[in-house]
């Protein structure tokens, strides 16, 4: 027997939502542009993002340096382009980890139920009781500033919602006839969960993951701004704003351009995620 409820209607529903919601195309276009920037950074950046040049300190935007230079004489545009890589990498990997851990826990909790379910949901309540930023800040501070630790810290702050999203459909699917039939055929719980439950809900989890990547990127920028991000001299948007903040009175370009970069990236993900969420959750559908 095939456990898969055909995914075809779901895919076309997504497609429909995208074609109905014009703003989502703006989001998609922006996102492709940003991903392209990250991938082709070495070819796009006019200068080396780490190359210091004391002769050109704090130059305002000019034909030579389109977005100006920072207090070490580094080209802001090149740093901005390379910073795209860190933001996307941290956001993507952190969400991937959170998704893997969170949805596994959610499926297990929903399927096993009982005490295990209560313990997992208790843990979720605890995670949710810490403000995201404060939790990320504490974990990043405890582990020490590095790329890996930053990813771990952000992943932990994003686990809880994935548990909830995976648990609810698991409980509903568990009672369906095809699961009962599978059990009668002697399939083990791992097979039932892995082959028959997960494929039926994974698309929802992935769609919401793209929505929460926006929040992961926002947290990354915030932690970098506080000084808990990838350590210098690596260019990240948050740390560029942090450094530019010291010269905010006379060098506006140091803070404004990275700020716009963060805003556009998060907005692109939100525009896209919003349309996708409307498509998978008819209750929230706004069209």
């Amino acid at each position: 027997m095939s456990a898969l409820v055909s995914t075809a209607p779901r895919t076309s529903a997504l497609w429909l939502a995208l074609s109905k919601n014009k703003l989502s195309w703006v989001g998609l276009g922006l996102l492709l542009l940003i991903v392209g920037t990250a991938v082709f950074a070495p070819w796009l950046a006019p200068y080396d993002p780490l190359q210091q040049n004391i002769a050109y300190r704090l130059e305002p935007p000019s034909p030579e340096f389109w977005l100006g230079t920072d207090s070490y004489g580094r080209d802001v545009l090149s740093r901005l382009i390379y910073g795209t890589r860190i933001s996307l990498l941290v956001g993507f990997v952190a969400i991937l980890i959170a998704m893997a851990i969170g949805s596994s826990l959610g499926v297990l909790a929903g399927y096993i139920g009982g005490l295990f379910d209560r313990v997992v949901m208790g843990l979720v309540d605890v995670l949710l009781s810490f403000p995201t930023l404060v939790l990320g800040l504490m974990i990043a501070a405890m582990l020490g500033a590095s790329l890996e630790n930053l990813i771990i810290a952000i992943a932990i702050t994003e686990i809880a919602p994935f548990v909830r999203v995976a648990r609810a459909p698991t409980i509903a699917l568990k009672q369906r006839d095809f699961i009962e039939a599978g059990r009668a055929l002697g399939y083990g719980p791992l097979r039932l969960m892995g082959v028959h439950i997960v494929p039926n809900m994974i698309s929802d989890v992935v769609v919401l993951g793209s929505l929460w990547m926006a929040s992961a990127i926002r947290t990354e920028a915030s932690l970098s701004f506080i000084g808990l991000g990838v350590p210098p001299p690596t260019a990240t948007w948050g740390s560029m704003i942090r450094e530019g903040f010291e010269n905010i009175l006379d060098a506006w370009w140091l803070t404004v351009f990275p700020s716009l970069a963060i805003l556009l990236t998060v907005l692109a993900l939100n525009l896209l995620g919003d349309a996708l969420r409307d498509a998978i959750d008819p209750k929230l559908r706004s069209e």
Partner: protein, 313 residues
């Protein structure tokens, strides 16, 4: 209702205990010896041992844990490693600043967010709705420090309408308000985007109900219909969702305080991070999480109070 309230209160106890356990574990995950961190590199072995005994670090972990729980439950949050004053004193000193800021933000967020959300819902799929949705999505995309910096650049540095740095010495009501305005609007506008979105979707749900159609058929004046029959019923889910927003509001206020150099819990936690003041960090984490747990509790109780259908499962 009383039974619901008591059950909900009891349910918060294990969450509170689990939260304290999480903080205990997290703080002890710190690499290195807290005593060594406090005394620096040149400390003698005797001094280190003395401090370890004083902090209880030489005891078994279980005993440390029970001590920790006992201290917290008697509201003894320990002594700040960097200032030597009690953690509770440090928190109490800046708490009014943060409360003032967040209260102003909630006020701004609701005063503007509710009517705009209602408006967008009533003009569904017309230009106010599209514009409103785009604006609220943009508002929700701002990390709080980014919007704070942009506001600082435009209104304080370019236009010079507000002070660049909040001064701690209050110059009467006017001066206080001038200090508060930019940070409060920064927090408030982001919250407004959220309230507006939630209000819109809740109003859309309510305005499609049968009783609205009935009321309209009876010829009730539109204003009364929207406010008494529509918004009043839509408010219940709004209160819940806005209660869930509280954690984000705290995070945003931390960032806002840092940008505007305004005293408060945010600057306190940043200072504690910079000098690795673990007792203060631990205390602040407990304070933040307790606030969220209490706000969630209050939200649930309000929900039960206004909606008698809520049954405890």
């Amino acid at each position: 209702m009383m039974r619901f309230a008591i059950k909900r209160l009891l349910l918060a106890v294990p969450t509170l205990l689990a939260m304290l356990t999480a903080v205990f574990i997290l703080v002890r995950l710190v690499p290195g010896d807290p005593a060594a961190v406090m005394l620096g590199d040149q400390a003698s072995a005797e001094a280190l041992n003395a401090l370890r005994t004083q902090l209880g670090l030489d005891q078994p972990v279980l005993q440390q844990y029970l001590h920790f729980l006992g201290d917290i439950l008697t509201l003894d949050f320990g002594v700040s490693m960097s200032t030597g004053r009690s953690v509770l004193h440090e928190v109490a000193q800046v708490l009014p600043w943060t409360l003032q800021l967040t209260a102003a933000a909630i006020l701004i967020g609701s005063i503007f967010g509710l009517p705009l959300g209602v408006w967008a819902a009533l003009r569904r799929n017309a230009w106010p709705d599209y514009l409103g949705r785009l604006l609220s999505l943009t508002g929700l995309s701002f990390p709080a420090f980014v919007s704070a910096i942009l506001m600082l650049l435009v209104f304080a540095i370019q236009l010079n309408w507000f002070p660049v740095v909040s001064s701690t010495t209050a110059e009467g009501w006017g001066g206080q308000l001038r200090n508060l305005a930019l940070p409060a609007f920064n927090l408030g506008l982001i919250m407004m985007a959220y309230v507006m979105r939630v209000t819109r979707s809740s109003m859309l749900g309510v305005m499609g109900e049968d009783y609205i159609r009935t009321a309209r058929a009876k010829g009730i004046r539109p204003m009364r219909l929207i406010l008494r029959h529509g918004l009043r019923n839509a408010l219940i889910p709004i209160v819940t969702v806005v209660g869930l927003y509280f954690g984000t509001l705290i995070g945003n206020s931390v960032l806002t305080e840092i940008v505007f150099n305004r005293p408060g819990l945010g600057k306190l936690i940043l200072g504690a991070l910079n000098v690795r003041d673990y007792t203060l960090l631990q205390g602040l984490m407990i304070v933040f999480a307790s606030c969220v747990i209490v706000v969630n509790l209050i939200t649930d109780l309000i929900y039960g109070l206004v909606d008698p259908r809520v049954k405890f499962q």
